[in-house]
């Protein structure tokens, strides 16, 4: 290979797509490192504090697309205080200074200010795609800047962000000359939308393939939009309140009939009952259906709709579909690969599905490889059956609403059930546990979950042994997050070198002490060990007895960037 000119190597590397593979390629020799680095166009940074933006820009001079993730996963569930960090501004600033030819920016759980969006929109003339997932810190003013100044914008995808809505004018900031939009998702916006501007924008975007509307877009506007954009592949319906006998409804039915290309349907954010029948006609074409934001749809309407969806590969719904509804899914959606069942009433602590629904799905959907299932109860027998029926799980996330509930029939821990899952699913990469669990389940996980990369533990285990089994056995573990479990210093310090092979470790409400964390930080300078202290209970200036205090929240991660300089007061890096 060394006799090939660089261009040939570069061309060969073009075929190497995945980040993992490209990382491997770059480690072969210096030459390959060099060529791979300047030819890599898409960079993935799983922890924005693992490396500094300048270094990224320097190494990957051909960088066009970057994905950044900020806060730890448990921030999604309010376990991380606001202002913890994850700011994108330094990255945008550094890239602007280094004249990176940025075209695509994908962020998850990061703080995005309006200033960042403004700087972004002015610094990269070829910027095409902005995807923000679970981010916060910006307002519609920031969006206005993106709309106005990103002349080549193809994609603006806002998923589940917390956006402060100032006015609906940002949509009218897209210049009249802008006709390049391919994907527009503003479903998470809460305020009013300039509806005429939206209609005009859709009318002048012939390449628009994906459109997800917010609550503020009513039925009559939807109908007019569908008439103008029958080429849509992905539709997110906003507000869906209608009178079945109205003229608007009839017009909508006509418009939907023309949308033969729609493969993905979502939204129904404000929904009146009995509304879905208008969409039955496109159901046979759907491969993806997300009704998880529509609690107004009753189970019989859901079931009627699903009976038409034979080609479904991805389904996100609420548990009001019930076990019976899941049986219908199992018998109808033979191509189903991913299922997510969310609780429709999280505050009440009751879910409308049980182990029976899951078993039914496993029997009917042989291709299932990814599941997120919030349920009322589970049994070992059910999990063992599921494991036998579906050995192809790559992601298995089970959440019993009562986090320490035992087997509903035998009252035993659910160790055997989860043990069966990890043993049967040899390709399992992600696992979330719940229910009554002892150290035994971790023994199984350590023994069988050879491909496991991410593990989420809550209210589980009896002793340090549990965590030790996992750290010893799961060679490919990258992310471990634990809450409210009795794991302490012995587990934490068992194999400190392991943490450099992982992206991060989160432990909250466990038994680790300040002393343990300090010891770890001392032995592993390549890690940032952060203590999140919200209650001022700990003395930051080391007192001798303090080391025995339990640490409420600890987050550690490997990094090349050293201690971060933007940590707030309540975060202490040891």
């Amino acid at each position: 290979m060394n006799y090939f000119p660089d261009e040939v190597l570069e061309h060969i590397f073009d075929f190497v797509g995945s980040h993992k593979d490209r990382n491997s390629v770059s480690q072969v020799c210096k030459l390959w490192y060099r060529i791979e680095s300047y030819s890599r166009q898409t960079v993935f940074v799983g922890n924005c504090y693992a490396i500094g933006p300048e270094r990224v820009a320097e190494r990957f001079s051909g960088l066009k697309s970057i994905t950044l993730k900020g806060k730890p996963h448990f921030a999604d569930f309010n376990l991380v205080p606001p202002d913890w960090g994850g700011f994108v501004y330094p990255w945008i600033e550094a890239f602007a200074r280094s004249r990176v030819g940025l075209e695509e920016l994908r962020l998850k759980r990061m703080v995005v200010s309006d200033e960042s969006l403004e700087l972004l929109s002015r610094s990269f003339p070829n910027f095409k795609s902005l995807v923000l997932v679970s981010c916060e810190g910006f307002t519609t003013d920031g969006l206005a800047a993106v709309a106005a100044y990103c002349r080549q914008l193809k994609e603006l995808d806002l998923q589940e962000n917390d956006v402060e809505d100032h006015r609906g004018h940002w949509l009218s900031c897209f210049p009249e000359s802008s006709t390049s939009l391919v994907s527009l998702n503003f479903a998470c916006l809460k305020g009013d939308i300039n509806l005429p501007a939206l209609e005009r924008l859709v009318a002048r975007s012939p390449n628009l393939k994906s459109l997800r509307l917010s609550r503020a877009v009513p039925l009559d506007v939807l109908q007019r939009i569908l008439i103008r954009a029958p080429q849509l592949l992905d539709l997110g319906v906003g507000s869906y309140l209608h009178d079945p006998d109205s003229e608007n409804y009839n017009k909508l039915v006509t418009a939907i009939q023309k949308c033969k290309s729609v493969r993905s349907l979502s939204g129904f954010l404000d929904v009146a009952p009995h509304c879905l029948s208008a969409f039955h006609i496109i159901c046979p074409n759907l491969t993806s259906l997300n009704l998880s934001y529509a609690p107004g749809i009753y189970d019989n309407e859901l079931i009627k709709l699903i009976r038409h969806c034979h080609k479904l590969q991805r389904l996100w719904i609420l548990d009001c579909i019930g076990d019976k509804g899941l049986e219908v899914v199992a018998s109808t959606c033979k191509d189903l690969e991913e299922l997510r069942v969310f609780p429709s009433d999280p505050y009440v602590g009751q879910a409308a599905v049980t182990e029976e629904g899951l078993v039914a799905i496993s029997r009917g959907c042989q291709k299932l490889n990814s599941i997120l299932y919030f349920c009322q109860q589970m049994t070992n027998a059910a999990l063992i059956t599921v494991a036998k029926n579906c050995p192809n799980f790559v992601r298995f996330r089970l959440c019993i609403l009562d986090p320490t509930k035992p087997d509903a029939v035998t009252q035993q821990p659910l160790d055997e059930g989860f043990g069966a899952i990890v043993q049967a699913c040899k390709g399992l990469k992600r696992l979330s546990l719940s229910g009554l669990l002892t150290d035994q389940v971790f023994l199984y996980i350590g023994m069988y979950a050879e491909q496991l990369e991410m593990l989420s533990i809550a209210f589980a285990g009896d002793s340090d042994k549990g965590m030790q089994y996992v750290l010893k056995g799961c060679k490919k573990l990258r992310k471990l997050e634990i809450r409210d479990s009795p794991f302490g210093n012995a587990a934490l310090l068992m194999d400190v070198a392991k943490y450099e092979t992982m992206r991060s470790l989160w432990m909250s409400s466990c038994e680790v002490t300040l002393g343990g964390c300090k010891a770890l930080a001392k032995r592993m300078p390549g890690l940032n060990v952060e203590i999140i202290n919200e209650n001022d209970q700990m003395e930051f200036v080391g007192g001798c007895d303090d080391d025995r205090q339990k640490v409420e929240k600890m987050y550690l991660y490997r990094t090349l960037a050293g201690q971060r300089r933007d940590a707030p007061e309540f975060v202490w890096t040891l």
């Binding site: 999604d76 679970s134 934001y293």
Partner: protein
């Protein structure tokens, strides 16, 4: 201050007192209920507001399991999702119709009806007429309910007493807090003009 307290206490007794008066006799609820601004809470409205708040909470179903301690961050769903579900619940309990109290001047006790059950004014009026054994008369925009001894009115979100039938049904459903079948003689002012 003292007077106010005594007034309130006396008021509570009155509210729970059973009266078997004939139509038109005795203190009726609607007497002071014309304008209900927060600065000068009318006695009956106050107690009723407390009750309706408790009812609202019960409607949402959140008070029953509130005894169970809420674990922070459990179940593990994103705030965005939680908020959208909660907003939906709030919308539902307000807009899709719920049980509202119906009082009739002179009747000994109130009734409750589910507005969701009715598809429009004609059905609602028929049900009210059957429940309270009266005739509402014919509704016209100009003259209200003509030729009847009793007139159906409702209290809206602002605390104002409105004539049933003036606004579109959907708007009525989302703004009606309670109904009162008013004696015709009192209702004359409501029927006509601005």
């Amino acid at each position: 201050m003292e007077g106010g307290v005594a007034y309130e206490q006396g008021l509570n007794l009155k509210a729970t007192e059973l009266t078997l008066g004939l139509p038109g006799t005795g203190e009726t609820e609607g007497q002071g209920g014309v304008r209900n601004n927060n600065k000068r809470p009318m006695p009956t409205s106050e107690t009723n507001e407390e009750e309706s708040q408790a009812l609202k909470a019960a409607d949402r179903g959140s008070t029953a399991p509130a005894a169970k301690a809420q674990i922070v961050g459990w179940p593990p769903i994103r705030s965005y999702r939680k908020n959208s579900l909660q907003a939906k619940k709030d919308n539902e309990s307000e807009a899709s119709g719920m049980y509202v109290k119906v009082s009739m001047d002179g009747a000994p006790y109130l009734r409750k009806i589910d507005l969701k059950v009715y598809r429009g004014y004609p059905e609602l009026l028929k049900a009210l007429e059957a429940m309270f054994k009266f005739a509402a008369g014919v509704y016209s925009e100009r003259e209200g309910y003509k030729g009847s001894e009793y007139v159906p009115t409702y209290e809206d979100k602002d605390g104002d007493w409105m004539l049933v039938g003036d606004v579109p049904w959907d708007m009525f459903m989302s703004s009606c807090k309670r109904l009162r079948i008013m004696k015709g003689s009192e209702a004359r002012g409501l029927g006509c003009g601005v």
